[in-house]
Symmetry: C2
Subunit: 421 residues, 2 copies
């Protein structure tokens, strides 16, 4: 989106470009920054000075002499100062983490939680306690919250903090802002609060952190499939999330795969979630969620249990995962035919189950997306497994929370750092 071309806006954009350049590729010299963002070294110098004064950049030592002028110091982003706070409300866990400007996770707490069919109030109060714990941890290291993003397994109204419907939590029209206000009010400065769907945040993590086995960045057009108890997807087009007219895009879990099949909580029939959701897979593998919880408690435990049983050769579990892969392949074939992405990335709990899900998934996908001819399919849609796995949404939330600093570096932290004149 273009911003007005005022001097002020131009300076803000250039500060952002300098900070992003060093964050992405530092340590680097002033000359390196200038070359990377296409400004002169003289134009870059005052921007770097301002970012140094604000504590966002630090000098990391001397680079090799450049041949003329004084040797440039290497610049790097600070490991103190602003941190992005990510929080995740899962059906059976809560988690909070803090990421610094270098992208390092500086604190992380997680706990089991029975959030299925819960009330928002008590869950958010528990989350607030975790937020306070993480804030205290990072304060000891000279970091302070610059933004909070909360990942939820449900539909969030565009540009709001309202969870419109989170079926597996049992929440409807829950505005998280009032309940989280006391937690963020404890911060030094007001910070922006964002609530987003966990699949969207998992996709942002993939864009920011995801690397294939060959170290290559993910393509700019992909479908990120995320599963915890439910199944969601994020659609990334040209590096941007496609959110839908009301913010509800990506409900892959409710794409019909067997239209006369099992009734779904959503009121439909034969939705993907009834075949590839965690409860469905546990049931097909011969376990209730309660039995599974008794065998192995904790976040991500049920999918870990499924992976262990499959690795041990349990035929019912292997069959259940095969059927889940088939259903995922059918739903994704429709998705790929509609959207023509470069890749499908399996994230969340699906990442750890990929060995047993992928064969049937890939077979269905190949069979049902053959309308694009072989020549085009050679560089067609790949299926990849996220290396971030179940951590994706939480990490994506923390990185999203840093965006205000990266977009508008000095103003976003001005109250804590009055500029020196």
């Amino acid at each position: 989106m273009p911003t007005p071309d005022t001097q002020h806006a131009l300076r803000r954009r250039n500060l952002s470009r300098v900070l992003r350049a060093v964050a992405a590729a530092g340590p680097m010299s002033r000359a390196g920054v200038a070359a990377r963002i296409g400004l002169t070294r003289a134009g870059v110098a005052p921007l770097v000075d301002e970012l140094l004064r604000a504590g966002l950049l630090v000098e990391a030592g001397r680079a090799a002499p450049s041949g003329r002028g004084r040797p440039g110091s290497e610049l790097t982003v600070s490991d103190r100062g602003p941190a992005g706070i990510g929080a995740e409300i899962g059906v059976d866990h809560l988690a909070v983490c803090a990421v610094d400007l270098r992208g390092a996770v500086r604190a992380r707490v997680a706990t089991d939680a029975a959030n299925r069919r819960s009330e928002p109030g008590p869950v958010l109060r528990r989350l607030s306690a975790l937020l306070a714990e993480v804030t205290a941890q990072i304060a000891a290291e000279g970091l302070r919250p610059a933004g909070l993003t909360v990942a939820v397994p449900g539909l969030v109204a565009l540009g709001s903090a309202t969870v419109v419907h989170a079926p597996n939590l049992g929440w409807r029209e829950a505005d998280l802002a009032p309940e989280l206000a006391p937690a963020t009010a404890a911060y030094d400065v007001p910070v922006p609060l964002t609530v987003d769907n966990e699949a969207n945040l998992g996709a942002l993590a993939e864009l920011r952190l995801g690397r294939g086995p060959d170290g290559a960045a993910p393509p700019a057009d992909f479908i990120h499939v995320s599963a915890e108890v439910g199944i969601g997807a994020a659609i990334v087009v040209d590096g941007q999330l496609l959110r839908g007219a009301r913010g509800f895009a990506g409900e892959l879990g409710h794409v019909p795969v067997y239209p006369d099949g099992r009734p779904c909580d959503c009121g439909g029939r034969g939705c993907l979630e009834q075949y590839a959701g965690e409860r469905a897979v546990l049931r097909a593998g011969g376990l209730t969620p309660e039995q599974a919880a008794a065998v192995q408690p904790g976040p991500g435990a049920r999918s870990a249990l499924l992976a262990r049983r499959a690795a041990d050769g349990d035929a019912a579990t292997i069959g259940a995962l095969h059927e889940a892969g088939t259903a995922l392949g059918i739903a994704l074939a429709g998705t790929v035919n509609l959207l023509d992405p470069r890749a499908v990335v399996l994230g969340g709990a699906l990442a750890g189950l990929a060995p047993w899900i992928l064969p049937s998934l890939e077979r269905e996908l190949a069979l049902r997306t053959a309308v694009a001819p072989a020549a085009a399919r050679r560089d067609g849609c790949l299926v990849a497994v996220s290396r971030l796995g179940a951590d994706g949404p939480l990490l994506g939330a923390a990185h999203a929370a840093l965006r205000a600093v990266l977009d508008d570096p000095v103003n976003s932290i001005a109250p804590a750092h009055p500029p020196q004149s």
Copy 2:
């Protein structure tokens, strides 16, 4: 997409804004243009003069005195000069039309054609003859081609004139540019040739010309479903076509609806086209396409025949259309869950069959998209019927062909109109 902020680029953008403003809302005075696009009247005057000299705008008479200065003339876009040429290659017809800057159709020719499982060469030579006929017709009225856009029922590689796969034509890897070069070489000036999927062009027509019963413009986020022999869709997000990484997005006809169902030519099973495509509906209604063609030949004839039989109360046809609506509703439910559009617009042959298709389609859609709660659905996804119907892709092609003129008004026609100094 931002263009470089040179004086030249700025002037070109402003010429485009003036021309688009008058095309969209004229006749209007210079003051009206200035108010509409946010420039001063002094800034608008030389732009208007240049567009008048180029013959793109004309003075349409005097507006009411504005109270100060000389009374402004009303400006309107010319009904001479550049015309957009749209062509359509259907499975059983060919058509060409010309649209002037005012949006009026100035010439139109169409013919039956047996293009199923054809070779591109003979089809394109026939199309070239129609192009020559339309060019001659409009030349007599002072119009000349400014661009040619060809609608095809198949996959077109992004930014190319190559039909990668058109299953119902039987074409693969067919580059249309060499065969159409003689036709466009006959024009005064070189014109851009564009080839695009017919559903995409139908959606562009809907954006440009579509109006609901209340006269309202279509929303910026919608799915345009198009059917001739096959079924395609265009995905419009924020007023722009979503084309996919390779240009193949929108293959709704190959979304699986009954995954263990009928085999499809694409190699898949249970694709939507096997239940809601024309051949499937004719067969379910008790007719082969050959019998249908014998009853009523010509473009759009088979869907007209289906509509007549349904209107006459033929139970087999009514049942077939009901089943088609069910299958469309299942596929669209998945699409709506994935993309969260404001509306689904039924275009092409589906528009005329809507009375018999809509009830079952809307029932499935409502049943299977209930994950978004009632409060959100109140202003949720509407199903609308295109008023353009089968004409959409051809009109969309002609309007798309005018885009070069609207984007860069004076340069695009410079060879024919050297600027007067």
